[in-house]
Amino acid sequence: MFKDESGRLANVPSMDTLRKTLKERSCGTGDASRDGKACKKSLMDQIGETVRGRLAEARLSQSEDETRKYILNEFAKTGKPPSEKAIAAAMKLPALESARLLVEKLHKADILTKEDGEIISAYPFSAKATRHKVIFQDGHEVYALCATDALGIHFMLGLDIAVRSRCPDCENEMKIEVKAGKVVSCRPEGIVEFVSSREHCGCTAETFCPFMNFFCSVEHLEKWREKNPAYGKGEMYRLYQVLEHGKNIFGAFLKEADCDTRRQG
């Protein structure tokens, strides 16, 4: 039996009860406004805006944006970033120093990350092993920075993929296949993504990505949250939502000309 808003019992939930709950859940954090104002954006919407916003704020020239795309394409093909020497040669830059300065600009804009002078990630790819391995139909593999990035790679490249990821609770492997914009299979069936809303500052790859993971099931997620209270606050998404977020963030990542056309480089 279900209680309606006035406390009466009924066999099915009332329309008002459903409306109230749906309003809360659709806003992600349960803080839907009660006065009809727009609800709070989901955590992933905010992260997506940050990633896209940093690219726009970088105001890359056309040649700088071409270099960014070259780095991403090399990551996609080999799972590794190109060296500065390779960048200089491919982009026909006048000197190695030009490539170094360009990579540094992308680093400062949080479009890629570096360690010991080398590129180690460029959204959505990681040169280091992560929980999320993306396997293409020809068999080659790359690592994604986070769960959303893994599915986003499908939309960025327009290629069918399989994602193998490990559940942070049980460490068992999960497999998700994405073809033509849809999840065509997933094992186990109840996979969800959790994005921790722990206070973050600094670069997204280091602060957000390690806490955006797939879990085998809602039950495993809840167990993990109990064991990790510092990271337990956040939002859970179903696979169709992760797919939507991946598409929104990365769908135009290699297509759009987010460059400052007044500064043709």
């Binding site: 309003k23 659709s26 992600g28 609800c39 989901s42 169709y240 939507e244």
Partner: protein, 77 residues
């Protein structure tokens, strides 16, 4: 136009339960009123499956994996 993120609604109903029509109507009207997009699943299940899922009543409604008004009463009928 739908607002916010999409939700997933799963309804588990016992084989003999006659509440499916009323439940679907209320869900449809609530979604329309709130202009929310949802993936709605209606699952007719037997007692064994209900016990396996630890469901306490029919219908049991889950929105994004969280049960709406959990009953806390053992027995699925």
């Amino acid at each position: 136009m739908a607002r916010g993120k999409s939700v997933k609604i799963d309804c588990y109903i016992s084989q003999g339960c006659g509440s499916e029509k009323a439940l679907k109507e209320n869900i449809t009207r609530a979604l329309e009123a709130e202009k929310i997009h949802a993936e709605v699943g209606i699952h007719r299940i037997n007692d064994e499956k209900a016990a396996e899922l630890k469901l306490s009543g029919s219908p049991s409604v889950f929105i994004d994996g969280k049960e709406l008004q959990p009953q806390g009463i053992v027995g699925f009928s």
